[in-house]
């Protein structure tokens, strides 16, 4: 018997989207580079609404420049805007890298981005002198908004970095990690794991500090303002010389594959290390690439998570039904983890269309023995209708379904992007064994609040 039922979208309309467009993913990726500026080649709304979304989620500034395309550009092309835009960014902000991110309009009008960048570089050479001009990397990132979702845009950005910045040199004994579109807390947890494994990593790219940076006005008096941290351009250049690349996001493997093809850097794709088995897999992959044995310190962390699972899962979580929605990677990872907790992932739904995702959920279905209704290429309206007929005990996903959850009286554990109606989520990990601990606390406390009587404290023991 099949363990999943796949339900495809039957409507033309999108009602309450569960995905967004490619440029957002690319802007997110470029923000993770030290002193880099994302430059969006499109209308002002393409940058301002994304900046708004990112700021709302991370509670941080989001500095994204735009070429401000207007009607004349739509007719005559965006050459002038892009060349001038690159110059203005370069001269004023003296960045390490400019990521030129296309949009639907610049893709459709057929702007020759590579050609325009060439012109801009020539002019910069004259204005800044060759030495200074060449220090600024300019990377074209093609992100047509009408193809796939934000994860594809993220993937395209990482691939562009691998193709345009990485350069062969001496072997460096490091491991490249492509984290996917996760939170600062997640990237910090990944770095923590690398540290325990005594392995140096190159994070492609590291948003942990740029999207969670300290308030120190005295330090920001230096101009121009760049947030602390991020992967340096030198590190990205050096990524061609690493021992291997692990992409924690299966949907963002093109950069890794490109490094493998060009520079023989071996690749491991996914899974996102949410829960025990997926994190185990990350450690096995690290061991395979570096040859480093897994240290006791990590086994202790794993033991702490399993201890907590033993404490809580049988008592409060077992058999509780869960609905999970959001990005395919995180959703699949969460489904597996709730399965490990003895909960039943009855409904898993994503805005993307992906055979990889279906395979992942099939695996979870087999492991848990739960018949999972899996919905791909969907929106939140589909979920809303589904839940009316098939209620679950708990929902896991972004803030976007908060009203649906409230209306249907289903407690919601906020995970994914965007989360704007709760605080602190972006600082804490959901990946790794520590992420598991955080998640199990979140989930169990939500269950306690909603399914146990507060006055009967003994029930809660």
């Amino acid at each position: 018997m099949s363990c999943i039922n796949i339900i495809e979208k039957e409507r033309s309309a999108i009602i309450n989207p569960m995905k967004t467009c490619q440029p957002l993913g690319a802007m997110y990726a470029v923000t993770g580079i030290n002193r880099a500026v994302p430059l969006v080649h499109g209308s002002q709304g393409c940058s301002s609404f994304v900046r708004y979304s990112l700021s709302r989620h991370f509670r941080e500034p989001s500095e994204i420049a735009v070429t401000s395309l207007h009607e004349d550009a739509a007719v005559f092309g965006g050459r002038r805007n892009l060349v001038e835009g690159i110059q203005n960014v370069a001269i004023r902000l003296k960045p390490s890298l400019i990521g030129v991110i296309t949009t639907c309009s610049s893709e459709i009008i057929g702007d020759d981005i590579i050609g325009f960048i060439g012109t801009a570089k020539k002019e910069l050479n004259e204005k800044l002198g060759q030495d200074k001009a060449e220090k600024i990397k300019i990377v074209p990132i093609s992100t047509p908004s009408f193809v796939e979702t934000q994860l594809k845009g993220y993937d395209n950005a990482i691939k562009a970095l691998a193709d345009h910045v990485a350069e062969p040199g001496e072997p460096n004994e490091k491991v490249n990690i492509i984290p996917g579109m996760v939170n600062p807390g997640d990237v910090r947890e990944i770095k923590h794991i690398l540290n325990l494994m005594d392995t140096e990593g190159i994070i492609l790219t590291d948003i942990s500090d740029p999207f969670d940076s300290p308030l120190r006005p005295s330090a920001t008096q230096y101009k121009p303002y760049y947030p602390k941290g991020g992967t340096t351009v030198e590190e990205i250049t050096d990524s061609a010389n690493s021992l291997g690349t692990i992409s924690l996001c299966k949907y963002a493997g093109s950069g890794a594959l490109s490094l493998e093809k060009k520079y023989n850097v071996p690749v491991e794709l996914g899974p996102i290390p949410i829960g025990i088995q997926n994190t185990d897999q990350l450690l096995r992959n690290l061991k395979k690439i570096t040859g480093t044995d897994i240290p006791d310190s990590i086994l202790d962390e794993r033991g702490l998570l399993i201890d907590s699972m033993a404490d809580l899962s049988g008592r409060y979580l077992h058999g509780r039904t869960v609905g999970i929605y959001g990005d395919p990677e995180i959703t699949a990872g969460m489904a597996r983890f709730v399965g490990e907790l003895g909960m039943e992932p009855k409904m898993v739904i994503t805005g993307s269309k992906s055979p990889e995702f279906i395979k992942d959920i099939e695996k979870v279905g087999k492991e848990t023995g739960v018949e999972i209704d899996t919905m791909v290429d969907q929106d939140l309206r589909t979920m809303e209708v589904y839940l009316q007929e098939n209620p679950v005990d708990l929902l896991i996903g972004s803030s976007d379904a908060r009203l649906i959850a409230k209306e249907q009286n289903i407690p919601l554990v906020r995970v994914g992007f965007p989360v704007f109606d709760r605080v602190g989520y972006h600082r804490k990990p959901i990946v790794g064994y520590n992420g598991g601990l955080h998640l199990i606390d979140l989930i169990t406390n939500t269950v306690l609040e909603n399914y146990y009587e507060n006055e009967h404290w003994k029930l809660q023991q």
């Binding site: 033309s12 009602i15 393409c46 700021s55 001038e84 009408f146």
Partner: protein
């Protein structure tokens, strides 16, 4: 003369100091490509005006991003339907770009009508639908005939202009061309009015509406906060339009005056003085003695209710400085409200100002106030660093720039959760301003462990 801040040569004249020769900045120009502009697109401008219509579906014809980054971001409250909170998109894909999206748009409209039976379906054009040349008007017409539901085209291609004000006008035009005047009211009274340019952000309308009802006017439609399409359809028979957000909606009032002969009054319910003046202006307009008496009583009562509650806040806010950097109307309409709290507006600026907006700012601010146009994020940061106001009033994109520099911030945009309009609104306003300015956190941000 020392420049206001260091910036590009071409940007210098976009900033000035009142009384210092140039009192109105250069404005209404395209932003420099390659800056982190705080502006948005024409599509955004149109959406802002129309999105608060509560019984309608707002369908974005374009790739999914235009809808997914903008649904349910308008903090407009509703006392009735919540259809306006849905994020709807035709989700144009590669094949639609090649073969056109008209068929998909038609199907989508029909689906949405069948699912929700809304008061209207507003169809917004985006950059993509503009570039591929979809005839939105024709599809809307066909869909309207086929479904019997109002299907209203909004020609809001994002790249049309550098100024989102054009988007406001396009939103207003959609109402003028397709809604206003399409239904005759069953009854009219001599005191019928519309509230124009009030979007009920955080429930502002509900601070104004009871006052107006008490003075004896009859509100036919609000454009567009907490409204129904059918109300707006009957709005052409009123005796007066009062205009709250003059930035977005003067255009609408002027056109209604031309087309239907409806006079308009500029009103402002932010701040006590302005609230009082607005109520008096409305009563004076009707010239009814009883109404004028009633109004004076309402004013007396309203002021009395407020005074005690704001004393504490005023004490703490006295002499503090504030910088305004907002979308438009608030750049002048809030100035007096801050002065009533004892604060000093040291800077005012807008992202999308046109000349008449800066004329109004210039009228209300004192000499020495910095006036800025379209300051990008680098310039904004430099202004904050150099002049260090005790408070910045702006929106979500500016919020964290300000806080990172240790400058207290108060939201006066879509994200606001407290109503600030009218007498009671002024108490919430004072309270929130005080909570930001007087937070002890901002003493800590200025201290350092090291002597550096």
């Amino acid at each position: 003369m020392e420049p206001v801040i260091e910036t590009f040569e071409s940007r210098k004249k976009h900033m000035c100091v009142k009384g210092d020769g140039l009192s109105i900045p250069v404005c209404d120009k395209a932003s420099l490509p390659g800056t982190v502009t705080q502006r948005t697109c024409v599509f955004g401008g149109a959406r802002i005006v129309l999105m608060p219509i509560t019984d309608s579906i707002h369908l974005v014809h374009g790739p999914v991003g235009c809808a997914s980054c903008t649904w349910d971001i308008r903090g407009s409250k509703s006392s009735r339907d919540d259809l306006y909170k849905k994020g709807c998109s035709t989700d144009l894909r590669e094949k639609d770009i090649v073969f056109g999206g008209e068929k998909k748009l038609f199907e989508t409209v029909v689906e949405l009508k069948n699912l929700y039976n809304p008061g209207a379906i507003f169809v917004y054009a985006t950059c993509v639908s503009g570039v591929i040349g979809d005839d939105i008007k024709a599809v809307c017409k066909k869909a309207e005939e086929s479904t019997g539901c109002r299907v209203i085209p909004v020609q809001s291609e994002g790249f049309q202009d550098h100024n989102k004000t054009k988007g406001h006008w396009i939103g207003c035009d959609a109402l003028l061309d397709n809604v206003i005047g399409t239904k005759e009211p069953e009854e009219t009274t001599p005191y019928d009015i519309n509230i124009v340019g009030e979007f009920n952000v955080a429930g502002d309308l509900w601070g104004i509406k009871p006052l107006l009802e008490e003075i004896g006017v009859n509100i036919v439609a609000t454009m567009t906060g907490d409204s129904y399409v059918e109300e707006i359809a009957q709005s052409h028979r009123v005796k007066l339009n009062i205009v709250q957000c003059q930035k977005s909606s003067n255009y609408l009032a002027k056109k209604m005056e031309k087309k239907y002969g409806i006079p308009s009054l500029k009103v402002n319910f932010f701040g006590l003085e302005q609230t009082v003046a607005s109520l008096r202006d409305i009563a004076d307009f009707f010239g009814d003695e009883e109404m004028i008496d009633r109004t004076e009583k309402i004013i007396e009562r309203g002021l009395a209710e407020v005074q005690d509650d704001i004393k504490e806040y005023k004490k703490r806010l006295d002499g503090k400085t504030v910088a305004l950097y907002v979308g438009g109307n608030k750049a002048w309409s809030l100035v007096r409200a801050f002065e009533e709290l004892g604060m000093d507006v040291m800077m005012s600026g807008t992202k999308n100002g046109i000349r008449e907006d800066y004329e109004r700012i210039k009228e209300v601010v004192r000499d020495g106030t910095i006036i800025v146009d379209d300051a990008n994020s680098t310039e904004l940061a430099r202004l904050l660093k150099k002049y260090r106001p005790n408070l910045l009033i702006s929106g979500a994109k500016e919020k964290y720039i300000s806080l990172k520099l240790g400058v207290p911030f108060c939201d006066f945009n879509h994200d606001r959760i407290s109503a600030f309009a009218g007498f009671k609104g002024f108490i919430s306003f004072a309270k929130e301003v005080d909570a930001s300015v007087s937070s002890p956190v901002f003493d800590l941000t200025q201290k350092t462990l090291r002597e550096d």
